[in-house]
Symmetry: D2
Subunit: 446 residues, 4 copies
């Protein structure tokens, strides 16, 4: 990283390089960025999947980027300037346990990958994987910049720093963008002004991943908080759907009723989708998702989706085609460019707290805006969470620390204490103990 003198021989290591989702977005975004070129090394436990992406990648764009499936972490990382981590910790079958097993105890989860019983067990599964990755980065690419997309974001990123404190890693997530879009539509509706790009909605974001909050928002010289107050009051009951995005049409969509409801309670704008928000607190949402106009994403849906993507993959392979060069809406490539010295950007990232969130513990992985420039990510001081939000966030931060710690030390007792401390776990301790044991047993963890 430190010695880059040209921008045409960049090496990106992609861990989870067989991915059919994020990896394809990257290919697409790289193919339309004219400033850089180089190599993308694709590493995946499923080597065949990586090979397929190699083929697809090499058919994408104008050849400025060369894709290569590699068989070891060492090969992927050696010489890398940028490392992307986007893996599924376990299989969709594992995820089925995470999400649906707790339903037997009356615990419903809308995503199950961040907090809740599912998020915790997934975290315990992910910790040793991220420990291995962190060690490999330390050994083969200590100066590289690492961008993690994997959930549970906070736990995974925390483990990277715990195992290799010198790592230069950030966690990236697009949830905040959705709230910027909502605000942009609000501006149009309320002020009759069209907002060109969601980035033009400036926001002060803070919190932990998937439970981030906006305490200041503006469009040019206009303060958006008072406007959101009216907006939220107006659509609190009915919900508001982004243009062309009926909440019923996709399991990932909502009518933002949970966000509106939390705004009324806490006075700050929740900056994540309703599916994520609902899992962080013992509210009424998960019991009546229909009423609140969002979905519990079933793993059977995810399997179906995976199967469709597989078919699409085969099609591309057979037809020797690449991905379409279309902006994905993600910021990964812009972040990479900024890290290489091409422009600077301010965007939200997940990194250890150095005070940027003043009322969450230091070292916890928090999400705020950061200034990204050449070889540098600097968190921006973002103030304090509202007191009521702090209470809930602190509880999850404790849990995330315990999951990271117990995953590394195999301290089953500590892991269970985190499990028991999760807001969704309102069942009796003995029932919780059984549930925990069963979920762990299925995964043969600990």
């Amino acid at each position: 990283m430190c010695h880059i003198s040209t921008l045409d021989q960049i090496k990106i290591a992609y861990i989870g390089g067989g991915s059919q989702g994020w990896a394809r977005s990257l290919m697409s975004d790289l193919s339309i960025d004219e400033r850089m070129s180089g190599t993308v090394a694709l590493y995946d436990l499923d080597f065949e999947a990586a090979q397929k992406n190699e083929e697809i990648g090499n058919h994408s764009g104008d050849g400025r980027w060369r894709y290569e499936a590699v068989s070891t972490l060492k090969k992927a990382l050696s010489g890398a300037d940028i490392v992307i981590i986007s893996i599924l910790p376990g299989s969709l079958e594992d995820m089925e346990i995470d999400v649906h097993f707790p339903e037997r105890c009356g615990i419903y989860q809308s995503v199950g990958d961040t907090v809740g019983p599912g998020g915790i067990i997934r975290g315990l599964r992910a910790v040793p994987m991220f420990a291995e990755i962190a060690r490999a980065i330390r050994d083969y690419a200590p100066e590289s910049w690492v961008i993690n997309y994997t959930n549970p974001m906070s736990v995974c990123t925390r483990v990277l720093y715990k195992v290799f404190p010198g790592i230069k890693a950030i966690g990236c997530c697009h949830e905040v963008f959705g709230t910027q879009k909502l605000l942009a539509e609000m501006v149009t509706e309320r002020l009759g002004v069209e907002v060109l790009r969601r980035e033009d909605i400036r926001v002060n974001v803070l919190g932990i991943n998937h439970f981030t909050w906006i305490t200041e928002a503006s469009y040019r010289h206009i303060d958006l908080l008072p406007i959101f107050h009216e907006f939220s009051a107006h659509y609190g009951e009915s919900g508001y759907e982004l243009e062309g995005e009926s909440w019923r049409d996709s399991v990932f969509r909502s009518a933002h009723r949970v966000a509106f409801d939390l705004f009324e309670m806490y006075g700050a704008i929740p900056a994540a989708g309703d599916r994520h928000l609902a899992e962080f607190l013992p509210g009424p949402y998960l019991k009546q998702p229909e009423l609140w106009k969002f979905h519990l994403t079933s793993v059977s849906f995810r399997k179906q989706d995976r199967d469709e993507k597989r078919k699409e993959t085969e099609r591309l392979i057979v037809q020797k085609r690449g991905v379409a060069g279309k902006a994905s809406g993600e910021e990964g490539v812009n972040i990479i460019a900024a890290l290489l010295g091409l422009g600077e950007i301010v965007t939200n990232v997940n990194v250890p707290n150095q005070g940027q969130v003043s009322n969450l513990p230091l070292q916890a992985i928090v999400e705020t805006n950061a200034l990204i420039t050449r070889n540098s990510v600097q968190p921006i001081f973002s103030g304090a969470l509202p007191k009521g939000v702090e209470m809930i966030a602190t509880r999850h931060v404790s849990n995330q620390e315990a999951v990271a710690e117990s995953g590394l030390t195999k301290d089953r007792g500590l892991a269970f204490q985190a499990f028991l401390n999760d807001p969704l776990v309102t069942i009796d301790r003995s029932d919780a103990e059984q549930l925990f044991d069963h979920m762990l047993a299925k995964h043969q963890l600990m």
Copy 2:
């Protein structure tokens, strides 16, 4: 305080001086301590009760101490060296709502004066009272030492410091002594050695009031933790009753099964009675107190007890008798003596955290040992709570801060967020909102 040159003209201000419990213990302990003499000013909203204590006090002991009922805080405090606060925030009728009203929603409480719905509402009621007291101390006795016995201890003491940051206040509680007695009996049973005084069991105590923990315990050169491990395993199922204290005979007693159970889970010895411990976490205890061998203390019992004490009061008045000069087992008088320069003691007190509990927030009221010497209380650094205990304690610390804050600023929203964040409040938010509204309404608070 600073100018004391003799120890025979000490002035103690007793706020809540009509008390039939703590005030009588103080009279008793003062009457048998030969080192000091002076005046006790008794202030109470119920002036008549204070006058009765004046009479009883002046019939107690050898006349070294003069008792005087006074009608204003100003009179009580002016010139005071020591201030004792031991009030009931509200009436037993108020407490009936605190403790029993939530039962309609299935929330049972064993004490209801510290945490849980009852503790929170009682706290909100106490805050303005303590704010008034703090202002009066600032104005009339800023150099005095203040000893608070009132619950909720953490909230009340926090308010004293918030309103008058220069205050010299400590919160005192005897719960830890009970655990020392338990350990002393254990030493006798296991090692065949008789322990003369419970203070000879040295303990490292830390936590928040009524949720304190012992991480080190010794008797002379003997480490008691491994012995407690066996002891707890042995009596975990059956329970253990202190000598002559059958748990069934008093609503204040238990067989320590909750403490043993928590010890198994967290690895540190809980240093409070089972009734208190059970309220801090969403465990199985409160649903089956019989099984766990402790009692839910009903307020009707408290009323009955009050009535009996009233009769005893009348008897003493009629017979022109004072209290018997018998050591109460409390440490108040020893603490007063130490603050005046007579000996030094190490005992557990509640004061703002300056790092003495390394993993609880600074400024939170925490309970640890402190060294008490002339005009000085210095907390002793006591290390970290076990991670699992920290998780729960942090949650209560957040709540206590929110109760203190919202009680001062009348921020009803924040108060409700604390209510909702209490581990015993596992009911739906809308139900919780109703419960909260009803409890507040009964008290005409906020």
Copy 3:
């Protein structure tokens, strides 16, 4: 501030509005910025001077800005969106004592307005003035943004926050820009590339005002630290003069030899002029300024300069002319625009440390980059000063805190301890005591 809905009725309050330097730059910069318009209220102890600036201001630009001399702080501040503070704390005669009196004891100062005996005495003089300003802002313009240009920057800004903790104040200084220019010329010389704007040199700045350091610097994708290493080695002896700026021609210029020397010692790039740097440590520089190729700025020069500016003022008044609409190179107007929601900028400011400099005390006024957006200044996490620099900076931070504190409380003993602790005060304590007494006496302070 919060209610601005148009950008054509902005009110700027200028404290020190009779200034012939900074005030004229502002007029100039405002006159060429097309985005905003409104009123500038000019307040000055010398009302006549403010009136002259009113005239000159109203002849500057196209009339979008109206200038008005006002006779009280209240009039200036009421309704202000932006407050600028640029005062001389005392007279040039006072400054003569600050700078030249210590020479009798062999203590030479190149500026004498920040640290050293002169900086400390000037600070003590400024504290009550800034306390008064802070109270006025609290009372009349609590929501305004305050931009301070007055030295000693750290002390003055600290007092603003001590007296009115809710203030939204930043200290601004252009010293860093000079170092960016130096780096830009270096890029041209070493890489043959022309840098268009000094802002294109990205720097990570941290430290305290006039003793700031650059630990990262880049131009596009190029790391400038290794290049500066060579550059500094090459010009260390001879010095380097900015294009067209012979160091001999102006008392404000230097050949950067002090900066090069400090870079060799500490490994980070000093980001202030040599005149300022030399005063912060007991180095060899002040004894031989000629050798080190910089100047000790005499106050007689400042008087001469003032007189010339006075003549220019009279000329403008007589000729009914305004200032020329020419960019001053300062960032004030861009900062104002950003605060009003017009674009966002990243630039260096002085604000209380929230952790942005990880190894200086919290709350100390530190200088780092910040992100400035609508109604918001957010410091950017900037890491740690090199250990050796930290040692020196910490010493000054202690002193600045002591000056602010003692200036507010009139604690002469504490003020003297700061004086004695200054690195330039290497004389005997009794001599220092005499010097301190004399300097204070001259100013009739304390």
Copy 4:
């Protein structure tokens, strides 16, 4: 340590076991303590010296303690419950350079083992020795309690913790006792009361070793600060000598004029001998020790003293005698007893700052009172140093950190920055550089 069940088989490892001073005091104190018995393993680079102490030790007391010279750290430490470190880092010839070499540059030092050029160079010499010891303790006696007597105390103890963070180490020093004796005599003189034991003077001590301060002092119920105020004013000019201790008769004595002078300036009582105090700040003392009535201890005196002790050693060996069983006045054996569970004591120790000194950096080695009980040393919260003292202490803390760090990493530049930052180094940087180079060269360090 954890498994001690008897007190008759204690093992003490003595590193520096050939010592003719501290080791003999220990022998003496152990011989008269009836509560414990066991083995003392004597390890010294000078094995012969250790053997001599073995002989002398085995002739001391009643045979409850067995002394054994051992040839390796491993042998000394294996199985040790207590480790004592009391070494001379280098030879007296080395110390000659530390103390007297800087005199060529006009820098005089009264002790030269803590701060100043001598203390810094001695520290650099000690660091690798303590790093080796720390590693050996980690490997062979990780659960033992380590008592360090070696200077520079703060640097040596810091290195123990840096190298083995899990170490249980304290630094012990008797300087505070001297001030307690002074206060005891003051009580007798001013109040006509005889104080039986210096421990009866209760003090709140805080600071860094040899620069500790008493902010509260009392005897029974009497506040000693106002009395000391008069006492200091009375004896400020003439000085005060402890009974029977004329300052002229010993190079270790003084008339406390430096302490009185510092008290006048800072308002707290310095709790170390004048020889130590004088070295911490650039005061007038070292230039005129006669005037201030204390001595610069020359190393030639130390050599002479050593030679006399050697003769005494030979005498004991020849006569097959042990040391006299006489209390040394040190607290080492009481501390050992307390750590083993025999009584508890409150005394001053040097340990990492966890907040016990609220205005010095965390982790710095600070000196305050601590509560010592079985297997436990708990610092007592001691408040803040006076601001003026904080300024000076912080500077030394920075330096000590830099010496520890640079001694471990061999960072010569950082070591020099500490050297330059020492208050006694008021010479020009180039002169300082030469001095530093010469002193290091003599020691062949770095």
